[in-house]
């Protein structure tokens, strides 16, 4: 895909924003285990960066997904994975279904402020009982008059402690598990919503991750996105954006890992020469560079398909899988060449190594990607 001058300008603007507004604070936010989402999102919203591919009618830019893809890549300049993930959760995980299938009133109430950066959103799919088997989730939304009454627990919810609303996937019917769910927008200040303390993690520290209890939470049925019991399908469509976002961002993070490692190994001397003068190190870095290039090719094939209005599920799944697999080898391979420094908190590579690992789990584990792909290949076992 040929990127235009405007794509390049978007990349430049995001990079400058990261350098000016984010990186100077990132160590502080990492230590605090949270970042000021409302402040950061407002700053993005003011620059038109939260609604890149959202309808203009609700304050978005109405651009195609290739611009959102450039933004996902550019956010990798942030020197911690937590903040870009939180931004991605807002732009490409909890709002695509709302933008695509939500009623005008619902979009006016939640999408417009999400694009403006006034509201922070979160996506509530995973549960303590399981995140991989989405269809088996237990949270229910029972009809009562004009309302839904919601009961259940969601776990691992990014932005969960700061969010104004949750795009919640819950069972709304008794039918087959792929036809009994709906996506419902739940304002987080509704009575009965209880956010327990932030979960501490091995990485993504600047992003708050919450467990959320729903105890007889009453929301109007007009908060449902699109048709009733179509939620599973909507969520699968929404995952397409989430997974491409993850893969695009990961590829750019991997590129940063390689770049800083190239610089480090050129500077660092051992055995009377630069580390990079060892053929082993040069070859490993060249191999990793090739892997990133291959991931980019897959990513941008997915982007092109989305832009062309095609179903990109298969390619997005492959891209996410590839990104997940590389997240377990590439940052590790780079860190190795930093020696003791790589093991210390003082180096950029150690945080990157911890943060990147999530790629193989969040947004669907590698094995879940493989399972989806076996279906496309017609070799998915009948006993599942």
């Amino acid at each position: 895909m040929l990127l235009t001058h405007e794509h390049n300008e978007l990349r430049r603007t995001v990079t400058r924003w990261v350098e000016d507004e984010i990186n100077p604070h990132i160590d502080e936010w990492e230590a605090a285990g949270i970042f000021p989402a409302h402040e950061v999102f407002k700053s993005l919203g003011d620059r038109g960066l939260l609604g890149v591919h959202k309808p203009e009618k609700f304050g978005g830019m109405g651009l195609d997904f290739s611009f959102a893809a450039v933004m996902a890549e550019a956010l990798a300049a942030i020197k911690a994975g937590g903040v870009p993930m939180a931004i991605g959760a807002q732009t490409d995980m909890c709002t695509p279904a709302l933008a695509q299938h939500g009623s005008d009133a619902l979009r006016e109430e939640f999408l417009r402020p999400a694009i403006a950066g006034e509201y922070v959103g979160c996506i509530g799919v995973s549960e303590p009982g399981g995140g991989s088997d989405v269809a088996a989730l237990k949270t229910t939304a029972r009809k009562d008059g004009d309302d839904y009454v919601i009961n259940g627990t969601k776990l691992w919810i990014t932005n969960g402690t700061q969010a104004d609303f949750c795009c919640l996937l819950a069972n709304t019917g008794d039918g087959p598990i792929h036809q009994n769910k709906s996506l419902i927008i739940v304002p987080m200040k509704t009575k009965g919503v209880e956010v327990t303390k932030k979960i501490t993690k091995i990485g993504m520290n600047s992003s708050d991750t919450a467990q959320i209890f729903f105890d007889d939470v009453r929301v109007p049925q007009r908060n449902r996105i699109g048709e009733e019991n179509k939620g599973f399908i909507y969520q699968m469509q929404q995952f397409q954006y989430e997974r491409l976002w993850c893969a695009l961002n990961a590829a750019a993070v991997f590129q940063r890992a390689i770049d800083i490692t190239v610089d480090y190994t050129k500077e660092r001397k051992a055995f009377g020469r630069s580390l990079s003068d060892n053929q082993w190190i040069g070859f490993k870095l060249a191999e990793m560079q090739t892997e990133v290039e291959a991931l980019n090719a897959l990513n941008w094939k997915g982007v092109e398909m989305v832009v062309a209005g095609q179903d990109a599920t298969k390619v997005a799944t492959m891209a996410k899988l590839m990104a997940g697999k590389l997240s377990r080898t590439l940052p590790d391979g780079c860190l190795q060449f930093w020696g003791g420094m790589g093991y210390s908190d003082e180096s950029e590579i150690s945080r990157l190594y911890r943060d990147a690992r999530l790629t193989a789990i969040g947004g669907g584990a590698d094995e879940v990607m493989l399972q989806i792909l076996t279906k496309y290949m017609g070799i998915f076992g009948s006993n599942h």
Binding site: H5, E6, E9, R12, T13, R16, W17, R47, G48, L49
Partner: protein
């Protein structure tokens, strides 16, 4: 008052430059290019004058290859009102020298009638630091170079200049040419809506011939070389040895 800002497309300041194998210059093929950073500061200053109600229109002009229209779009996205592209070369490696640029700018000034020209103090590619001064001489206008502060007040402008060892404040008559130093301001970066709006702002295309200016280079580049690589160091065993070595190379 109209403000005219000349902007140059140069190799991006982040790019590690590579000298062409024949030594004729720096390799610019498929290299990231951006607006000269000092020109960004000049554009910012012009926009601030407009925002302060001291200017009505900000016109940006670039002289060079066709691709310089991207540089102009960047300035338009920052907030300039319209742009003029003067195509003066086909080859990205042909640098248009300050005198030719100043002559073209003089013609543009005569056509557009700005009350102020704000240029960068120098371009980061060839570091000439001459265009503003030459334009001032050709037009017979006042000049305030290396500005770190600019205050336009009717017929005069007060300029703080960064000079060796301190600051100098001068008062000059308008119309004037001002060249921007690093600390004049911190240029903004465009919001996404402004990036998209810039696509629709007017951009006039001209050629050097339209202004009757001959852009043939007058300078000949004899040689371009990379800075010498840092050579490997040696380890010394003691202070005595260190001193001896330093004496040996004539450093002490």
């Amino acid at each position: 008052m109209k403000v005219l800002v000349p902007v140059k497309r140069v190799i991006d300041y982040n790019v590690k430059v590579r000298v062409k194998s024949d030594g004729s210059g720096v390799d610019l093929a498929n290299v990231k290019m951006s607006m000269n950073p000092f020109d960004e500061i000049a554009v910012e200053e012009a926009i601030r004058l407009k925002e302060a109600g001291k200017a009505d229109e900000v016109i940006v002009v670039s002289i060079g290859v066709k691709q310089a229209q991207e540089t102009l779009r960047t300035a338009l996205a920052m907030g300039a009102d319209r742009a003029i592209l003067v195509i003066a070369a086909d080859d990205v490696h042909q640098d248009i020298e300050p005198l030719a640029v100043a002559k073209i700018l003089k013609a543009v000034v005569e056509a557009e009638g700005p009350g102020l020209v704000i240029a960068g103090k120098q371009a980061i590619d060839n570091d000439m630091n001459a265009t503003g001064q030459m334009l001032s001489a050709l037009l017979g206008w006042s000049q305030g170079t290396f500005a770190s502060e600019l205050d336009v007040d009717g017929d005069t402008a007060v300029i703080t200049r960064e000079v060796d060892g301190g600051l100098q404040t001068i008062k000059i008559k308008m119309p004037a040419i001002v060249t921007a130093d690093l600390r004049l301001n911190e240029p903004r970066y465009a919001s996404l809506p402004n990036i998209m709006k810039a696509k629709k702002k007017p951009l006039d295309e001209k050629t050097a011939a339209d202004f009757g200016v001959d852009v043939t280079p007058r300078l000949e580049i004899v040689k371009t070389t990379e800075p010498a690589a840092r050579s490997a160091g040696i380890k010394v065993g003691s202070v005595d040895e260190l001193v001896a070595k330093l004496k040996e190379v004539g450093a002490v």
